[in-house]
């Protein structure tokens, strides 16, 4: 690493700034909770941060809160508490951790979250809807489901100008107008279209940069680990969507990644295998999980998680600021639909990812907690194998529940996977 790197702190800045922003975000939420201010409870697939910020609503992401309990090795306490209330061991661990969080007055390892003043969600994950119904029962606050029609059939995406697309866009736009009226009632604050426009401008800068960051990781060596570093970026992408801070963060990240690319600085010193991760991370052993791959020189150059958990921001969709509501509807439709496609109809996109990122292997990680992501993965793997001659690993665990995470078993499978990658490389290197 050069003197300039350390002097300017350019390399690693994204992770440092991400951690700082995250702390500041939670400090703000704690202050809101302490002051008795309510928050907008939202989800990563279709958060509408641009709109909610224009009503000065603090954004609370229960998914992010819950995963943090797992990363900090405290999830089991939260899960047990919810299961004692009757919630099944077989449902989403995020939901259960949140139920326990609410029972604890919003207390989390990172701070305290405000109670919901409103919940705004999409149907990108059906569990979002069941989750919001729990809050409705707990607090009697309103929730609004923005129903977003997804892709009906593999390869059947429609786009602006198509009859089907315009029909869906009109439906989403009509719902956004209903939501704005509801937000005015809940916050007792008039809708300010110029503030929305400004926030959408920030979101444009963020989306543009996020797309570029993802593209830059085609570099060899990879500039960031899509699993470990990528999760930090995702936190900012969601928590700061529609804000100046979020836009600047991602512009800075582009600068950092461009610098790393230009100077050949990889996330691993010795990158041997370029991998793609499909699924949701194993948060109960988050760091160790990545290490088990890094020990073999394996780095995750991309993941479907970076698509769907950014709500489709990876597309780089940019709003038309001259027509905010209609454009917001289009962006929400396109983004949430892409997030859904990244889970349900991902085969072709994965094949493209394998090609563009020069991938050596694909790791499928279905989890007990999330059927949205996990249901189709075994079949996706089979379909991808039919399209591309690419080794893959299929390992199951969970994003929250350490009772179904067997580190030793995972390591055995991962070690064997790398043995296979090594021998394949040798075979390909051997002259015939």
């Amino acid at each position: 690493m050069s003197v300039i790197d350390t002097k300017n702190g350019l390399v690693g800045r994204g992770n440092r700034d991400g951690a700082r922003l995250f702390r500041e975000w939670f400090d703000g939420l704690t202050a809101d909770a302490d002051a008795g201010r309510g928050g907008a409870y939202v989800f990563v697939m279709g958060s509408l941060g641009e709109l909610l910020r224009s009503f000065d609503l603090p954004l609370v992401f229960p998914e992010i809160n819950s995963l943090q309990t797992a990363v900090r090795h405290q999830a089991h306490d939260y899960l047990n508490e919810a299961e004692d209330l009757g919630y099944s061991p077989d449902i989403c661990g995020y939901v259960k951790a949140d139920v326990a969080t609410q029972r604890r007055g919003g207390v989390l390892p990172m701070g305290r979250i405000p109670k919901p003043q409103i919940a705004v969600l999409t149907n990108a994950c059906n569990t979002y809807i069941k989750w919001a119904e729990i809050w409705e029962r707990m607090y009697g606050m309103p929730s609004y489901v923005i129903d977003i029609p997804g892709t009906r059939q593999a390869g059947g995406q429609t786009w602006r100008g198509d009859e089907g697309f315009e029909r869906d866009r009109r439906y989403v736009a009509a719902q956004l107008k209903e939501l704005i009226t509801l937000l005015e009632q809940v916050t007792k604050q008039p809708f300010d279209i110029d503030r929305l426009r400004e926030n959408m401008g920030h979101a444009n800068r963020m989306s543009r940069s996020w797309k570029r960051v993802l593209e830059l990781n085609q570099s060899r060596p990879a500039l960031f680990n899509a699993l470990s570093d990528g999760t930090i970026y995702l936190g900012v992408c969601n928590g700061f969507r529609g804000s100046e801070q979020g836009a600047k963060y991602f512009e800075d990240l582009v600068e950092e990644m461009t610098y790393k690319r230009d100077h050949g600085i990889g996330t691993l010193v010795d990158e041997r295998f370029r991998l793609v991760f499909v699924g949701v991370p194993c948060y109960p052993i988050f760091r160790r999980f990545s290490e088990m791959f890094a020990e073999h020189g394996g780095t995750f150059v991309h993941s479907t998680y970076l698509w769907f958990a950014s709500g489709g921001a990876n597309l780089g969709f940019e709003y038309d600021l001259s027509d905010p509501i209609e454009s917001l509807a289009e962006g929400l439709l396109v983004g949430a639909r892409d997030a859904m496609d990244s889970m349900f109809f991902q085969t072709q996109a994965l094949a493209t990812m394998v090609d563009e990122f020069a991938v050596d292997g694909v790791v499928f990680h279905p989890i007990k907690s999330c059927r949205t992501v996990s249901t189709g993965l075994a079949d996706q793997r089979r379909a991808l194998m039919a399209m591309r001659d690419i080794p893959s690993l299929f390992i199951e665990s969970d994003m929250m529940d350490k009772r179904v995470v067997s580190e030793a078993q995972l390591k055995n499978r991962i070690d064997a996977f790398f043995e296979g990658l090594e021998s394949r490389r040798l075979q390909h290197a051997t002259p015939r």
Partner: protein, 394 residues
């Protein structure tokens, strides 16, 4: 629409014989009615649980076949899925992969995250189109009705591609009339369950209802018209059983023998078993725009389930209303194993029943279960406690 009679076995039999024929059909995992339909040259659209506007398919002269899993081993389908999944997703796909069911189009719905994935998985494994029908999850929105009409129009177009023929509004209205008759007849079955449950056992009523999804509705209507008078006239006496509502059968179906086992100690006076067949609560209008009428009925005059979000229909309140309307004394709150929406709803149901001081029995099931001894004992104990408490009270 019927090119062939697909279920002749019940004809010429007495009531018990008819009911046995219905049960045999329901338990036949080779789906003989669907096979006969296709052997006669008919086309078939498979639709996954819970609700599907069957009228649109029926109007095209195509058989809408309800795909609701089956008690079979998912030998082929198992490798297409991970471990933590409900059974009905796997066995439904198995029906296609094993060749038990032949389709021209498969349609699933965003009822849950697993079901939405099913269209993609199914589509990668068969040669015919597989789709998601996006029924609205914002049912209370004023924009939902118009959207749903348009979504139904899209579906109409998809079905037209199968037959190569346009589906006219008149044909749709005629189909709506057939299904209105069917829903009215099913309401009568349920009225008998509710008013004189000793005249129709839980598993008999279930079989009579469930086979609706396996044959042209005209045939099912004919069957019900023959059976209903026989049931009303059935010589049976009330027994010392507790009146219960069974809740939790909206998607994956409990094994037939489990329903039979419950019937040994309880009168199931209402339930949500295959609620999609009874989703619309009153006649759909047969005048005007038929797709708009179907959309209106789906949203405005419909039952409830854990997989539809509608703030106007709070599910626990709807359950309590169902219990009261059926004069039930207790509730069996069931859920299919690994069913996220069902298991989540159980918590809300139990809290509401606690508050209303209505006794309940919580259980999980899987369609492939084969032994029910333990459940029978638990249920008998539950029922005995209730009967004993009633005796003490009186």
């Amino acid at each position: 629409m019927t090119p062939v009679r697909v279920f002749p076995e019940w004809q010429g039999r007495d009531l018990d014989g008819i009911l046995r024929a219905c049960q045999d059909l329901l338990e036949d995992t080779d789906f003989p009615t669907a096979r006969r339909w296709r052997e006669a040259g008919g086309k078939t659209v498979g639709h996954f649980q819970v609700y599907f506007p069957e009228e649109i398919v029926h109007a095209a002269g195509v058989l809408p076949l309800k795909i609701r899993g089956a008690p079979i081993e998912p030998k082929h389908a198992d490798s297409r899925f991970g471990s933590y999944l409900c059974s009905v997703i796997k066995t439904s796909l198995e029906l296609a992969l094993s060749g038990r069911v032949q389709l021209d189009l498969f349609v699933t719905h965003p009822i849950c995250d697993a079901a939405r994935n099913l269209a993609a998985v199914w589509g990668r494994n068969v040669g015919y189109p597989c789709q998601i029908l996006y029924l609205p999850q914002n049912a209370a929105s004023p924009s939902a009705r118009g959207y749903l009409s348009e979504e139904y129009a899209r579906l109409r177009g998809e079905v037209e591609k199968i037959t190569g023929q346009a589906i006219t509004d008149d044909a749709l209205r005629a189909s709506i009339a057939v299904f209105n008759d069917n829903r009215a007849l099913l309401r009568e079955v349920y009225a008998i369950k509710r008013e004189t449950p000793w005249r129709v056992a839980a598993h008999e009523a279930y079989a009579l209802t469930a086979i609706a999804g396996l044959m042209p509705r005209e045939e099912h209507n004919e069957l019900l018209r023959a059976v209903l008078p026989l049931l009303r006239a059935r010589d049976a006496r009330p027994k010392d059983r507790i009146r219960v509502v069974f809740e939790g059968g909206f998607c994956e179906q409990p094994p037939f023998d489990l329903i039979r086992a419950i019937g040994l100690s309880c009168y199931v006076v209402d339930d949500d078993l295959l609620i999609g067949l009874r989703w619309i609560l009153s006649d759909v209008t047969t005048t005007g725009d038929p797709l708009a009428a179907l959309a209106e009925a789906y949203l405005e005059r419909s039952s409830y389930s854990p997989v539809q979000h509608d703030p106007r229909k709070l599910k626990e309140a709807m359950l309590l209303a169902r219990v009261r309307a059926a004069d039930a004394k207790a509730v069996i709150v069931a859920a299919a194993k690994m069913c996220e929406p069902g298991l989540e709803e159980q918590v809300a149901y139990v809290h509401a029943l606690d508050e209303a001081r209505i006794p309940y029995f919580v259980t999980e099931f899987e369609e492939g279960m084969t032994t029910f001894d333990q459940l029978e004992i638990q249920l008998e104990t539950f029922v005995e406690n209730l009967l004993f408490a009633e005796e003490v009270k009186s």
